[in-house]
């Protein structure tokens, strides 16, 4: 699986017309054909593609994605220490936590809103509550996230000046005391976090609703009702647990979308996360960074799916027993 991903990301890079030295040369007009040849050798670009792939794969196994072309030889993935003991932080190492934090907070907000909405729509199926939630879902599916970001930016940032519109911190961040630092970070994060949670909301709400409708039609729910349990107990104790189970899988599956979606949000709000890093790398044709992020992003997806499967097995006694029996 990982090998397939690495193959794809590697060969995409070699679709490009021209090679990286064209680009390097355009940064530095003085670079001669000789220095370009040197560069090619440095990056093994003088070898056949298959050999390049082999070399790259070999380094990748040790999570060494090489060094960035564009930004002063920074390591792509993890920090390195040079012979003088200076530590250079890796680009993904710095960017990944930011993106993860934003998306995890965003996901929590999505779930907090989507689950109650989904339940409401299912318990009031075909009534006005359900209809308005359905309408809302259609709009949520259709609204471009970056447009929403622009509108929020305009309304909250420009018209009312309530929130800062870009970056993670204010310019005077270093001079603030701890409390003000926290406040500053939070206010910078509000908009970038809202965007992924709103755009993810429609899908999860619909999913919870359909799950609930499914479960509420089952025989054991009828049994529970027949026993004379209160509707509240039926819905929240019997139905909800079963309806939420598949949600674990959906969250696992939504990871690539979340990471991919971070490109636009982070570019708009100038957040130095994975998305922005990727966008910049793509514009600069910074091959090692692009390949590194593609691979790490895909690996994250695989890990996410694995975690979701394990969590599912842990949460669902049927699967759990089945696993133990084998």
């Amino acid at each position: 699986m990982l090998i397939g991903i690495s193959l794809i990301s590697f060969f995409i890079m070699h679709l490009a017309p021209g090679d990286i030295t064209d680009n390097e040369a355009s940064f530095d007009p003085k670079s001669s054909e000789e220095s370009r040849a040197q560069l090619r050798k440095l990056y093994d670009l003088d070898k056949p593609v298959i050999v390049q792939y082999g070399l790259w794969l070999k380094r990748m196994v040790t999570l060494d994605f090489g060094k960035s072309f564009a930004s002063h030889q920074k390591p792509v993935f993890w920090q390195t220490t040079d012979k003088d003991g200076n530590v250079t932080k890796g680009m993904i190492q710095q960017a990944l936590p930011i993106t993860l934090m934003i998306n995890i907070i965003g996901l929590c907000i999505t779930l907090l809103l989507a689950i109650p909405l989904g339940i409401l729509a299912a318990t009031h199926y075909q009534q006005w509550q359900d209809r308005s939630i359905t309408l809302f879902n259609f709009i949520g599916f259709s609204i471009p996230g970056f447009w929403l970001s622009l509108l929020l930016m305009y309304w909250l940032g420009v018209v009312n000046n309530w929130l800062p519109i870009s970056g993670l911190h204010s310019i005077n961040y270093e001079s603030l005391d701890t409390w003000a630092k926290i406040k500053d970070s939070v206010s910078h994060l509000i908009m970038p976090v809202i965007i992924p949670s709103v755009t993810g909301l429609a899908g999860i709400t619909l999913f919870v609703k359909n799950g609930m409708l499914d479960v509420l039609g089952q025989d054991y729910i009828t049994t529970a009702r027949a026993k004379g349990l209160s509707e509240h107990k039926v819905v929240y104790q019997h139905a909800l647990r079963n309806a939420l189970l598949p949600l674990i899988t959906i969250i696992g599956l939504s990871i690539p979308g979340l990471i991919g979606g971070s490109v636009i949000a982070e570019t708009i709000f100038a957040i130095p996360g994975m998305g922005k890093l990727f966008y910049d790398a793509v514009l600069m044709r910074d091959f090692p960074v692009v390949m590194g992020i593609l691979t790490i992003g895909s690996a994250l997806t695989l890990v996410g799916n694995l975690v979701a499967d394990v969590a599912y097995a842990w949460a669902d006694p049927r699967v759990r027993r089945g696993v133990m029996r084998n």
């Binding site: 699986m1 397939g4 991903i5 794809i8 990301s9 995409i12 890079m13 679709l15 490009a16 017309p17 259609f138 709009i139 599916f141 259709s142 609204i143 471009p144 996230g145 970056f146 447009w147 622009l150 509108l151 930016m153 305009y154 420009v158 690539p256 979308g257 990471i259 991919g260 979606g261 490109v263 636009i264 570019t267 708009i268 990727f278 966008y279 793509v282 514009l283 044709r285 692009v290 992020i293 593609l294 992003g297 895909s298 997806t301 695989l302 799916n305």
Partner: protein
């Protein structure tokens, strides 16, 4: 009860709403060269960043170009990209899905493995990477969006073929000695058409969103050609002074995508023979 497709579609309120929205958007885009009040690329230094008025219904941009005219012309491109990209992805998806679902065995294993790999790479990253290494142009965008979004259709067609193969009429014609091609083209494919159409319509919705996102990032449709996405790029640039540059193009994207989504969901209800009973 329903005799033809159109009346069936129009009988479903969702599909009807979607159909009307899409029809209007298409009509406006088709008629763009005749109904645009100005040349979409005409720069007018005397009319920079004018707010909406009777002269310029949607205002002007940073180069004094009429936003309404650019919106109308941009619509042509956004719609075209959506249609062609989905045409490509549906074609790939149907072929691969049919192969996997019909022949099974190792063909199926290989194809589904490729699908799994493609699905685990964050799609927007993949598209961005490919786009950036090719030169951004309308044709490249259509191809790239098409090449990176066929996985859903593949799975769908495969599942449909697999379940249809179990049905008696397929078994019967197999027993009668029908060739593979005949089975696929006269029996399996026509019977899988409904989900394919629905997923294609919904696919257009996401392709339009994708194109506008790429153009917004400057990696899609390039200036001076207008698209809803790249008008929004200007909108971001001038967000402090010119709200109209952000509001209108986004609205156009929202309405178009909403139209396709409504149409797709409506078609699902309308074309599904099982849902007839409810009406």
């Amino acid at each position: 009860m329903h005799n033809n497709l159109l009346s069936r579609i129009l009988a479903n309120p969702l599909a009807k709403a979607g159909f009307i929205i899409i029809a209007i958007v298409f009509a406006l885009a088709m008629l763009a060269p005749w109904i645009s009040p100005y040349d979409p690329n005409a720069i007018n230094v005397k009319a920079i960043l004018f707010a909406p008025s009777w002269q310029h219904w949607m205002g002007t941009d940073g180069l004094g170009r009429d936003v309404l005219s650019r919106m109308l012309h941009g619509g042509r491109i956004s719609l075209l990209v959506g249609l062609v990209a989905v045409g490509i992805s549906t074609a790939i998806g149907v072929v691969l899905g049919a192969l996997a679902g019909y022949y099974r065995g190792w063909v199926d294993t290989v194809i589904m493995r490729i699908v799994d790999i493609m699905l685990s790479i964050p799609s927007f990253f993949l598209i961005l990477a490919v786009i950036a290494f090719l030169t951004p142009s309308i044709i490249n965008i259509m191809i790239v969006i098409g090449l990176t979004s066929w996985m859903g259709v593949t799975r769908l067609v495969r599942a449909e073929f697999m379940s249809l193969s179990q049905r008696e009429f397929i078994q019967a014609s197999k027993t009668l000695g029908a060739k593979d091609a005949r089975l696929i083209f006269t029996h399996l494919l026509p019977n899988s058409l409904t989900p394919i159409i629905v997923s294609a319509v919904l696919g257009i919705a996401s392709a339009v969103l994708m194109e506008s996102g790429l153009s917004f990032l400057g990696l899609g449709v390039q200036a001076p050609e207008s698209s809803w996405g790249n008008i929004l790029t200007d909108g971001k640039e001038y967000i402090q002074f010119a709200w109209w540059l952000s509001v209108y193009p986004g609205m156009a994207i929202l309405i178009t995508v909403l139209g396709y989504n409504l149409l797709g969901e409506g078609l699902r209800d309308a074309l599904d023979p099982r849902s007839d009973a409810q009406e």
